[in-house]
């Protein structure tokens, strides 16, 4: 009897313990620190800002140098590899290519999927436009990229195959068309607000952005697939509804990690030792008496009256001046916007479409509107004398010898200084304008200009079976002239 008492006590204790450990005891593996769900209103600005941060940040520096707007300064060497075309498979790998896929595109895919499932066509269009915009940058830099297989890691597709550039381009048009066909007015289409960090919720502008992006995609193919370009653009001109304003992001503040990324890293973090005015740009603007030069660059040695001093492209080992203080530096500011497509760019795209006969309208007017918009972008009063008859930038009467195209792209080139260097680099690749680039002094490419980036290390090491064989940095991409 005594023993029974004892054993039952033991039993009771064990029962108390075992019952306290039911499923609830173990169901604590939902991370309390991170949400399991997030609305499209929270994820869309993340994906968009990341795309802007990369393209308007490190890619902008690369593009600025390769567009011969900027040169690597003397006495420093952060971007000497860009300015000597010494590109490795590690260059802009995880922080460029990687961040665009697993940062921007991955988030935008989530928004697209959610928007599609809920017939939220506003967000569907917005996320599609930024996705297409980002994909185009990737394929223009790398040629073949994962596209049809991309972004499906969650579904178990962990070795995406690479698609050719034409497949990507056609896919982008299809994506955009599909999103444009949707009825944005249905009740399930939630109106965006401040989380639309490009247009603040103006869906008409998004339609224009989509159309202008399509125009850009088609024009890029004029050399490689002229018929695709002409047919596509002609169809666009049924409405001719293009951007007449900047598609840009302006949400910056002058405090740590909230500034324009080039300013944040190059000016605030590094102390601005690396980027200076390239002689190529200096000569052009100087020769043409272009007032934009003084707005785009600061005089050397903090002078107030110049003159500007540029550096021969790639001459970062020059012995004089001994440091950047003797050279003109780009006038960057913490709140500089990041431009996806600028107003000026839209006009120049339209001008070219008209010159090529795919679009209708007044090419000269579009060209001049582009120059005016470029001045306005810098806070300058447009200077009509520059493109007036006899002016330095007068629009050629005919396109003989691509004269009109040359004028348009040169002006596009100038309009993109300090802000859209990468796009300017692509356009030079496509058109050959400006045609007065000087090959960088210390180039490692036997005098060849760079045309692309190398397939990145992270992709090669983890997706070996699919990454195409590495080619030289001076190998043309498919749409190249």
């Amino acid at each position: 009897m005594k023993n029974i008492k004892r054993y039952s006590l033991v039993g009771l204790i064990m029962v108390i313990f075992s019952t306290s450990c039911g499923d609830d005891f173990f169901d604590i593996n939902t991370d309390p620190n991170l949400p399991g769900e997030a609305s499209v209103q929270l994820v869309f600005p993340a994906g968009t800002a990341i795309s802007g941060f990369i393209i308007g940040g490190q890619y902008q520096i690369l593009g600025g140098i390769w567009s011969q707007h900027w040169a690597q300064s003397v006495g420093a060497s952060q971007y000497a590899n860009y300015d000597s075309y010494d590109i490795q498979s590690t260059t802009l790998d995880a922080r460029g290519y990687g961040e665009l896929y697993n940062g921007a595109l991955n988030d935008l895919k989530y928004v697209r999927d959610q928007a599609l499932a809920t017939e939220n066509w506003n967000y569907y269009l917005m996320s599609t436009v930024i996705s297409a915009y980002t994909y185009q940058v990737l394929t223009d830099l790398y040629d073949n990229i994962p596209f049809t297989d991309a972004l499906q890691g969650l579904d178990g597709l962990v070795q995406p195959k690479f698609d050719e550039g034409t497949v990507v381009y056609d896919g982008l048009i299809t994506m955009l068309d599909e999103a444009l066909e949707k009825d944005l007015t249905v009740a399930t289409s939630i109106p965006p607000g401040a989380d639309d960090i490009i247009f603040g919720g103006d869906m008409d502008m998004w339609v224009q952005f989509a159309n202008t992006l399509k125009l850009k995609i088609y024009l890029r193919q004029v050399n490689a697939r002229e018929s695709v370009a002409s047919a596509g653009i002609q169809a666009l001109y049924q409405d001719a509804n293009f951007l007449a304003a900047d598609a840009h992001m302006t949400q910056f503040a002058d405090e740590l990690n909230r500034r324009n990324p080039v300013y944040e890293t190059e000016v605030d973090f590094s102390g601005f030792p690396n980027l200076v005015l390239s002689n190529t740009l200096l000569t052009y603007l100087d020769n043409n008496g272009d007032a934009r030069l003084d707005a785009l660059f600061n005089f050397p040695n903090d002078d107030t009256d110049g003159p500007h001093v540029g550096l021969i492209q790639g001459n970062f080992r020059a012995q004089t001046p001994t440091n950047k203080d003797g050279l003109s530096q780009p006038a960057l500011a913490p709140l500089d916007p990041i431009y996806f497509i600028s107003e000026a760019e839209s006009y120049f795209l339209q001008a070219e479409a008209i010159v090529r006969g795919y679009g209708t309208g007044d090419a000269k007017a579009m060209y001049e509107a582009g120059i005016d918009a470029s001045f306005a972008k810098l806070g300058l009063t447009p200077d009509a004398t520059l493109y007036a008859a006899g002016g330095a930038y007068e629009f050629p009467a005919t396109n003989t010898g691509d004269a009109q195209i040359k004028a348009i792209i040169e002006q596009k080139w100038v309009s993109m200084v300090n802000s859209q260097g990468l796009e300017s680099f692509f356009e030079q690749n496509r058109t050959g304008f400006p045609d007065f680039y000087t090959v960088a002094v210390n180039n490692v490419t036997a005098g060849n200009f760079p045309r692309r980036l190398l397939y990145p290390d992270t992709e090669i090491s983890s997706n070996k079976a699919n990454v195409p064989a590495q080619v030289n940095v001076f190998t043309n991409v498919w749409w190249h002239k």
Binding site: Y7, M14, F26, N29, I50, Y101, L154, N463, K464
Partner: protein
């Protein structure tokens, strides 16, 4: 305290004065009949006693009422003899053969006779742990235990100790053992920046990245006061730890604390032990500096340079530094061989400890207080460690059948740590200081010549400014303890409930001063300009552990005893952290989050993990020489998916004492045992690796970031899809280990061998496998691959000489572990575990090779091994190559002790052979021209030996003899790249030998002590890490130095990134027993 001493003192005088006395004498011999000098003879229950002389004779006056004499001597069995009416008492003492057959504390605090164990254990007693007066009980194990690799990260006081048992066994989870105090697991979190700022993922904070200002406030396993420890037992194999469940898959460190002494039986109420030690620290290893070339660049003088690429020293007195108010300092242009060494102070560590203990046959208590106060070798107290511990334990037999125990420990720590790495870190600056710059003269950082504006180099900051103005301070209050209830239901059945808790509240404050030279001053625009920053983190840790066990012990037959155990374990862990930081301070010297116009970064984190285990064990004992133990445990862990939550693992081990079975008891082979064991152990995942999540949006270019919320009229917040795909199919890692071994004792246990062979395999490793970025993700948490550790551990202990008063003991241990990553998932042929990232030196793993390989780029070479140089004559980088494993090939320890009368001299030598580590000290001193290797060829132009240039013509590659020399123009960049070996020059051999411990102690003879109020007095000179020997190729750093400390053990094997130098320590120690 004073009062107590006085009372005791008076009591002893009174006893002496009033007792009637009589003389007793005699001779003590050993079993061979030889005299035993120096043996103790004490009247039981008193402090009256003496020691035998050289011939083994003693004489003693004893009080009239004395009943018993106690004879004792090291290595011999203590014996008690009734005095009766005898005046002559001779004694023959026998050697203590029970020393081997000692009682070992095994898993769950179960005490077992060591001969029953089917696996290897090593136990170190308090004496071994406190000999060198290390403030860390774990460091005191270094070199003394086979199969255990123990390293301390740096010389800063209180820094972490990494303990790895039998090789690395996990890629993504913890490799460190479980720490158990008195049967209850305790927290061993390493308070390094990677774990301080969040549990699991690195959240970040000011100056906290591994390369830029890593911090290390030590691991909590080092909180235990070494004086409170009775013994530490190292359980290395799965067989030994299986009952502890998943958390002990990497082995366990079992700490048993001191219990109260039953002083009443000796006629005293209690005993007081007091100890006090003062230990000094000095730098153990600095790089070998050159003393031929001074400040400058391109071979010419440059007074603003922070490199030693200047001209040869000529001794001519010249001005140096900046011109301030039209004046300038002067000094001879000559080397200051000790300019770095002189920067360091002598560190001081004071440890004081007092313990009270006492009790009766029924109840005992133990109380102690200790204070350890260390100030490291850097000037200022920016590297300091202050630990106070207060412990109380009591045990009581409440009834014949019911016993209860209680233990509580309070630890208060307050420590400061100097940032390491490359971000204005002090040691980093020192290594670059030109060989002629008298850095100690810059002590007054407000002096016009040494202030921020004018400090000599545009490329550095006065290290005294950094030490005095920046800081990292850590405060922790921790309480841990347990309660033990045991009820013996009947002779055969007992029930034990043991519940323990471990709670800590911690706060970390870090701050960086505004570092802004006056605009227009010489140093305006330096790259280290800093707007100042402050960060505060509060974190809280909670753990509770409960074990309910039923023991059964019955004889089955006359020959077989049966022991059984079933138990139920519940373990709950929770940690919370809140962190805020802000950069850009408004008021200088005021370190509060409010002191900035910028928005503070704020994060919070909570991590919970629950584990339940049920276990059972059966012990069979056949005639006390053949033993079999079969065990099993099932765990349920909250961190695994519901379907895989439950996992089971069995174990079996056997031990056969053949000397007893075969009746061997000759004087040659006195003890022989063989043993074998097989066991499995499971290891769960980290929390939160199953379900998909979103993370706060943000993006970085590697330098700066874009943080959310985005500013503007309406702030826009953002979340991103997490880049790591959780795994809904995650399985536990399962370790399977087989171990065999033998123990042999010869010559009455004067020569003993203990050898183990083991083969451990860990399957289903949990790892974040890299995915191509184009999948939209960076990694997926998966089970992949297998690691094996195969090795041998051998221990020899010997007492070559034992004559009367002289004894010489020697112990040698040897360990060789072969680690191998057997496989990874298909298609994955390499993973990166840590290192510098990108093209730098990295720690990687490849199937078929050891886990933790150093991978670096050497020079590009031709097929026949000639070095290919570029047009500048400098070697061109080749492909990255595996240089070898990080882990040692083998390790050995040698301990010896000499005892003569009251003197004991003991020492430990720690020998570790093979392995590689990365050294930033090597890289930095070559970059800055301070390393002795940069004197090559007198710095005159030279052609890289055996070099060629590549001529490419289409697909046709030919080589021509290189004729382009390295000149002053690119000499610095040649050395910056590592010279001829490129990055491989920064990967050094990990081999070293250290004189870990050396101590000389003296126990005052009892006939002297007996005239004092004290029972025992011991004086000692102690030293630790007194000498370090490394192969001549390592002229840069202590191979033990570690910077990459993620608290899990694997990444820290990469090497040092400006880790502050390790130290040697030496001092004295006084211990008194009242």
């Amino acid at each position: 305290m004073k009062k107590v001493l006085l009372t005791l003192f008076l009591a002893s005088i009174m006893l002496g004065a009033f007792a009637q006395e009589r003389q007793i004498s005699g001779k003590i011999t050993d079993s061979q009949g030889e005299a035993v000098p120096g043996a103790n003879v004490i009247v039981k229950g008193t402090t009256i006693g003496t020691t035998t002389d050289l011939d083994g004779n003693y004489k003693l006056s004893v009080p009239g009422e004395s009943e018993t004499l106690v004879f004792s001597f090291i290595g011999m069995q203590t014996q008690e003899v009734a005095i009766g009416s005898r005046a002559i008492i001779d004694m023959s003492m026998s050697s203590d053969v029970q020393q081997l057959a000692e009682v070992v504390v095994t898993a769950l605090g179960i005490e077992r006779d060591s001969k029953r164990l089917g696996y290897a254990t090593t136990t170190l007693k308090n004496e071994d742990l406190t000999k060198g007066r290390s403030i860390s009980p774990l460091n005191a194990l270094q070199g003394k235990v086979a199969g255990v690799n123990i390293t301390q990260g740096s010389g800063q006081p209180g820094s972490s100790t990494n303990v790895i048992l039998r090789g690395m066994s996990s890629l993504g989870s913890n490799n460190q053992p479980l720490y158990v105090v008195d049967g209850v697991p305790v927290n061993n979190t390493q308070l390094t920046t990677n774990t301080v700022f969040s549990n699991g993922d690195f959240v970040g904070g000011i100056g906290s990245q591994g390369l830029n200002g890593g911090l290390d406030f030590g691991n909590r396993g080092n909180d235990i006061n070494p004086n409170d420890i009775e013994s530490i037992t190292v359980l290395k194999s799965a067989s030994a730890t299986a009952l502890y469940g998943s958390r002990a898959a990497n082995g366990a460190i079992i700490v048993t604390t001191k219990k109260g002494k039953k002083t009443a039986t000796e006629g005293r109420k209690f005993q007081v032990d007091v100890s006090s030690s003062t230990v000094f620290q000095s730098v153990l290893r600095l790089p070998d500096f050159q003393n031929t070339y001074g400040q400058g660049f391109f071979g010419t003088t440059d007074p603003t340079e922070q490199t030693s690429w200047g001209p040869k020293f000529d001794g001519v007195v010249r001005p140096w530094g900046e011109v301030v108010d039209n004046s300038q300092l002067i000094k001879p242009y000559s080397a200051l061989p000790n300019n770095v060494k002189d920067f360091f102070n002598i560190g001081k560590t004071f440890t004081n400890n007092v313990a009270f203990s006492g009790g009766t046959d029924y109840s005992t208590f133990y109380m102690s207080y200790s204070n350890t106060n260390a100030n490291g070798i850097f000037p200022t107290d920016a590297d300091s460690y202050n630990r106070n511990t207060l412990s109380f334990r009591a045990n009581s037999n409440l009834t014949d059948r019911f016993t209860a125990g209680f233990s509580a420990n309070y630890v208060k720590k307050n420590s400061s740590f100097i940032s390491t790495g490359q971000n204005s870190a002090t040691y980093d600056e020192l290594l670059q200081t030109p060989r002629d710059i008298p850095v100690v003269e810059a002590k007054n950082f407000n002096d016009p010549f040494f202030n921020l504006d004018n400090y000599y180099s545009y490329y550095s900051v006065n290290p005294y400014f950094v030490l005095n103005n920046n800081g990292n301070e850590f405060n922790e209050d921790r309480v841990y303890g347990n309660m033990n209830l045991n009820y013996q239901v009947s002779d055969a059945v007992g029930v034990t409930w043991r519940v323990g808790g471990d709670v800590s509240n911690s706060q970390l404050s870090t701050w960086r001063a505004i570092l802004q030279p006056t605009p227009g001053s010489p140093n305006d625009g330096i790259s280290s300009e800093d707007p100042g920053a402050v960060g505060e983190q509060a974190f809280h840790n909670f753990e509770v552990n409960s074990d309910l066990m039923v023991n059964i012990s019955v004889p089955l037959t006359r020959d077989i005893d049966f022991g059984g155990l079933i138990g139920y374990n519940v373990n709950m862990q929770r940690s919370d952290a809140n962190y805020a930081s802000v950069a850009g301070l408004d008021i200088p010297g005021f370190y509060q989050i409010s002191n900035s116009s910028a928005s503070p970064a704020v994060t919070q984190s909570t991590v919970e993990r629950n584990i339940v285990g049920a276990y059972a064990q059966i012990d069979l004992d056949f005639r006390d020489y053949l033993f079999l133990t079969v065990g099993a445990r099932n765990d349920w862990s909250s961190t695994l998916p519901k379907e895989n939550r439950s996992f089971f693992y069995p174990s079996v081990n056997t031990s056969f004492v053949f000397t007893e079975a075969l009746g061997i008891s000759d004087n040659i082979l006195s003890y022989g045992k063989i043993r074998a064991g097989w066991a499995q152990a499971g290891n769960d995942a980290k929390p939160y690796q199953i379900l998909p999540v979103f993370v706060p949006a943000g993006v970085s270019d590697g330098f700066r970031s874009l943080n959310f919320p985005l500013p503007g009229g309406t702030q826009v917040n953002g979340f991103e899809v997490s880049n790591i795909i959780g795994s809904p199919d995650l399985q536990p890692e399962i370790t399977t280990e087989i171990e065999v071994g033998f123990e042999l004792g010869f010559f009455q246990q004067r020569l003993n061998f203990d050898v183990s062979l083991y083969d451990k395999s860990i399957k289903d490793l949990i790892w974040n496998a890299t995915l191509p970025r184009s999948t939209g993700y960076t990694a997926q948490t998966v089970n992949l691959g297998e690691i094996t550790n195969k090795g041998i551990e051998a221990l020899m202990t010997a007492t070559p000489i034992r004559t009367g008063s002289f004894q010489w003991d020697v112990s040698v241990n040897f360990t060789k572990n072969d680690n191998k990553l057997v496989s990874l998932t298909d298609g994955l042929d390499e993973i990166t575990l840590g290192g510098l990232g990108g093209n730098g030196v990295n720690l990687i793993a490849r199937p078929g090779e050891p886990v933790g390989l150093l991978n670096a780029r050497g020079p590009k070479t031709t097929d026949d091994g000639r070095i290919i140089v570029g047009s500048d004559g400098k070697p061109v980088y080749g492909e990255r190559e595996v240089m070898g494993q990080a882990a040692h090939d083998w390790t050995a320890g040698l301990s010896t002790g000499l005892t003569f009368k009251g003197f004991t001299v003991s020492g430990t030598l720690d020998v570790r052979k093979g392995g590689l580590f990365y050294s930033r000290s090597a890289s930095l001193t070559q970059f800055s021209g301070t390393s002795v290797v940069t004197q090559y060829n007198d710095r005159k132009p030279f052609i890289v030996p055996n070099s060629v240039q590549e001529v490419v013509d289409g697909d046709n590659v030919t080589y021509v003899e290189n004729a382009t020399p390295i000149t002053q123009d690119n000499l610095y960049s040649y050395w910056n790249d590592g010279g001829m070996d490129k990055d491989e020059a920064h990967v050094l051999t990990r081999s070293f030998t250290k004189l870990r411990e050396l101590s000389v102690s003296y126990n005052l003879p009892s006939n002297v002590v007996s005239k004092t109020p004290f029972k025992q007095v011991r004086l000692a000179l102690v030293g630790r890490n007194l000498f370090l020997w490394t192969p001549s190729s390592n002229r840069f750093a202590d191979p033990e130095s570690t910077t990459f400390n993620d608290g899990q053990g694997l990444s820290s094997s990469f090497g040092e990134f400006g880790a502050t130098p390790s130290t040697r320590s030496y001092g004295f120690d006084l211990r008194v027993t009242l």
